[in-house]
């Protein structure tokens, strides 16, 4: 890795900006990608990394600026265009077809056909097997993608990108769901690609990983590039400084109130996985009134599934929950909400909001019985409650009768929170409450969490953001592979300890042939 300096630039972004309705995601970015090297891109959540990569991969078109590929200005109208020019991308969100086999996924849209246009499945599976071989994940090309673990799916996504024979390969958080062993394999593949002159753009949150494999580093903050260096010249502190800048995140200070009695307890919660094994593996935890318990873990660690079990969304889950010391016998969501549980789901669009209804209807959806006398909704009471929530949570909306889909992400999230609060919960479950919302809204959400805990609510919140979990929690639980692998007090938790606990139990991929073949 010595002769980096003379590596030539294959792709260059000049003054590229991207504006979405309302927000500027990338501001006048200048970014260079070098051949035969790992070009690392870091930044906090929402800094604009993914947007920048989507521009390079032709998924998004820049609002302003130029893209130069080998010195020649290019403009991609689709990701297909970019693929044709040799740019491949491993997306953070998996872009796989669960109902198709691994081989079909790898060759989707460029199927290998014979002379008559019939797909040559045998050929596809052979070729796919070659790529999978290099990833040593025990994935067979004829397996259905939906039967694979998230980590394995991520490997398929990587195999798909590698199979493109791309000159530039973008990897957006490729390791977020991988076990330590799988990460090692991926690094070997990357080294191999690098030796063949492929330019790799690598995005990750894990600094230790970046320092290990990166050759060049670029740091993004709030859509601007704040630093660009050779990796050998920088250290962790430099990266953090460029990432966070002078102004630290606004987490709203703890006010030092003491948590009260135990308000919620979960005992031995288990949830079987469709492909065998347990998605939630004998998890027990307890929460006190006024306490914020953060649950840290990687993607697929079972945090959301745990919340789903607590809310009674899976009929086949086992284990008991207690609220205020009394066992909750009700097994359905409706009655658990009445007992004082409320969930703010991770996926706002799919699970949080009814997007074609108004802001007001969404807010009161879970608590309509409060406003009804017999079967008649009392409009005045409902309007009053809506106005109050809109004010308390600082939801920016001109008229609550507006469709909720017209709001910004942050305000939509506040609507979901408002809906949960109107049910009068004792225990609030928040799954990635700050995902995909802007800095201001984040601060509002954190402030609201603090205020609620002061009012005596118990809050369980799941996140994969280390800073967030460290700053907000009174106690931190760590989940990995469905199990609770650590429980720390705020005073004794360190980032290193959390990261270590979140990687526990990630062995090599378990073999799940039986289900795939059935």
């Amino acid at each position: 890795m010595s002769a980096i300096a003379e590596r030539e630039i294959i792709l260059k972004l000049e003054d590229v900006s991207k504006v979405y309705s309302g927000t500027v995601a990338v501001k006048r970015a200048n970014f260079e990608v070098r051949k035969g090297a790992v070009n690392v891109l870091v930044g906090e959540n929402g800094a604009g990394k993914s947007t920048l990569m989507k521009i390079i991969a032709g998924v998004e078109r820049p609002t302003a600026g130029r893209i130069l590929l080998e010195g020649e200005e290019v403009s991609f109208s689709s990701s297909g265009d970019a693929v044709n020019r040799g740019i491949g991308m491993v997306f953070q969100e998996l872009n796989l077809f669960g109902n198709m086999s691994v081989a079909e996924n790898i060759f989707a849209t460029r199927e290998i056909t014979n002379r008559f246009g019939k797909i040559d499945h045998a050929q596809q599976e052979n070729r796919a097997a070659e790529f999978l071989e290099r990833l040593q994940a025990g994935i067979r090309p004829d397996m259905l993608v939906e039967d694979l673990r998230i980590g394995q799916q991520q490997l398929v996504e990587i195999a798909k990108a590698v199979s493109l024979d791309a000159r530039i390969l973008i990897m957006d958080e490729p390791t977020s769901a991988l076990s330590a062993a799988e990460v090692e394999i991926l690094f070997k593949v990357i080294a191999d690609l690098k030796a063949r002159g492929v330019a790799i753009v690598y995005i990750s949150h894990r600094l230790e990983e970046l320092i290990r494999i990166g050759d060049y580093i670029t740091v993004l903050r709030d859509g601007r590039i704040t630093g660009q260096e050779e990796m050998k010249n920088v250290d962790t502190q430099w990266i953090v400084r460029q990432m966070i800048g002078s102004d630290a995140k606004d987490f709203a200070k703890a006010d030092g109130h003491l948590p009260g009695e135990e308000i919620f307890r979960a005992e031995e919660i288990c949830l079987p996985r469709a492909t065998g094994g347990l998605a939630v593996d004998h998890v027990s935890l307890s929460l006190r009134a006024g306490e914020i318990l953060g649950i840290y873990g990687l993607m697929g660690a079972g945090r959301s599934e745990l919340f789903d079990c607590i809310m009674g969304r899976h009929g086949h889950s086992t284990g008991d929950i207690f609220i205020g010391g009394r066992k909750v016998k009700e097994r359905d969501t409706t009655r658990r909400i009445r007992r004082g549980l409320a969930l703010i789901p991770e996926d706002r669009q799919r699970e949080g909001l009814v997007s074609i209804l108004s802001v007001a209807s969404n807010l009161t959806l879970a608590s309509l019985s409060r406003f009804a006398r017999l079967f008649h909704i009392r409009g005045a009471d409902e309007r009053q409650a809506v106005t109050q929530v809109v004010r308390e949570l600082a939801i920016r909306v001109a008229d609550p009768a507006q469709e909720v889909s017209s709001l910004s992400g942050g305000n939509q999230q506040k609507v979901v929170i408002g809906k949960a609060l109107l049910t009068g919960p004792k225990v609030l479950l928040m799954d990635e409450p700050s995902r995909g919302i802007d800095v201001g809204a984040k601060a509002d959400v954190f402030r609201t969490m603090r205020k609620l805990s002061r009012d005596g609510l118990g809050i369980l919140f799941a996140t994969s953001d280390l800073d967030e979990v460290m700053a907000l929690s009174d106690r931190i639980a760590v989940m990995s592979n469905g199990k609770l692998t650590g429980m720390f007090d705020r005073t004794e938790a360190t980032e290193a300890a959390l990261v270590a606990a979140s990687a526990l139990g990630h062995g090599p991929a378990p073999h799940t042939e039986s289900t795939a073949h059935a």
Partner: protein
């Protein structure tokens, strides 16, 4: 109506919102248009006798369309209503003529009021079967109600071996007289069927707007997962809409056999298609979450008046079908154009507000 989409290209915000209002009222405008057109084109169209006759025709479709509207708002479809109409008519006819034989030498005869209640219960029960298939056994609504369509029609045919139950006047000594009141009776100069329609329509509109159940119907159609997480009893909501649809179909079955004083097992064939057409014409979105009872009633009137008016003008029934189809397609195209325009106007308002 067909010239509205062309104007949708108008860019300015103010003309946009005027256009939007026009488009929102499109079914109503269409109703007035067909009324004006036929009152000029067809003599006697506006006579009281004809108007009452037409509204009786419309009422039948309007009942089914209301039930259908709720079902479609939840994201489902009910293809079985036509067969339920037929089966319920047969149930009523059978009870008037034969009563229920208890197999021990006694036969129970019911009075007309009881017969109506039993018939309605049968309609609701078949709706419940639809609901159970969809919620408990996870059968897609299209398939579940298609199956029930055949089963109910088959049962209707079996009940009389394919024959008509004629002459449902009943016998005074058995207390089964008076069945004709529903179909032929009048109150304050209006047919009884119209009064029932008014009551059911007002009830349904109230339910949609002012009750938690109504709100839940819309929520389930808008986003079933989110509704579930918000504690909406999705299965109960779905059960209700199919049962309500069955109830509406039973009313229609009663009215038709009462009007004819006879029950024919093939009654109601393809009624479900007219009901869907009326709901869609009235602005109900097939993808769920959107629709109003008022819109559906107006939609039923447009379809009913269109077909009756064309008959009076002597247009061939083949052309009537073509015209009806075109009207439905245009309605949906305008609906889509309105959605897009609405989004644009909202964005512009947001931009203005900063």
């Amino acid at each position: 109506m067909p010239d509205i989409p062309a104007k949708a290209a108008a860019p300015s915000a103010s003309s946009g919102s005027v256009l939007l209002t026009v488009m929102k009222l499109r079914t109503f405008i269409a109703l007035i248009a067909v009324l004006i057109f036929f009152s000029i084109a067809a003599p006697n169209f506006l006579s009281t006798a004809n108007l009452i006759l037409m509204s009786k025709h419309v009422a039948l479709n309007a009942f089914l369309a209301m039930g259908m509207t709720f079902v479609i708002i939840t994201g489902g479809i009910d293809l079985s209503v036509g067969s339920i109409v037929g089966l319920c008519g047969m149930v009523a006819g059978y009870l008037v003529l034969n009563g229920i034989d208890l197999q021990i030498g006694y036969t129970i005869y019911f009075n007309v009021f009881e017969i109506a209640l039993i018939t309605l219960a049968v309609g609701i029960l078949i709706g419940a079967v639809n609901g159970l298939l969809i919620t408990r056994l996870n059968v897609a609504p299209f398939i579940a109600t298609l199956g029930v369509l055949y089963v109910a029609r088959g049962l209707a045919l079996l009940s009389s071996d394919g024959r008509t139950f004629p002459n449902l006047v009943g016998k005074p000594e058995l207390g089964t007289t008076g069945f004709g009141f529903l179909g032929a009776g009048r109150l304050l100069g209006l047919p009884v069927a119209i009064w029932i329609l008014i009551v059911v329509a007002l009830g349904a509109a109230y339910l949609a707007k002012y009750t938690p159940l109504g709100r839940h119907i819309f929520a389930v159609g808008g986003n079933e997962r989110a509704s579930r997480i918000s504690g909406v009893r999705v299965n109960m909501v779905k059960m209700f809409v199919y049962m309500f649809s069955g109830f509406c179909a039973a009313i229609v079955g009663l009215i038709i056999s009462s009007e004819l004083m006879a029950s024919h097992p093939a009654t109601g064939e393809s009624f479900e298609l007219n009901a869907i057409a009326a709901a869609v014409l009235g602005g109900t979105s097939m993808s769920g979450g959107r629709g109003t009872i008022g819109g559906t009633i107006v939609g039923a009137f447009v379809i009913g008046i269109l077909s009756d008016g064309l008959v009076m003008m002597g247009v061939s029934s083949f052309w009537q079908m073509v015209i009806k189809g075109l009207v439905i397609i245009v309605a949906v195209v305008v609906d889509q154009a309105q959605r897009r325009l609405q989004q644009r106007v909202t964005l512009m308002q947001m931009a203005k507000a900063g």
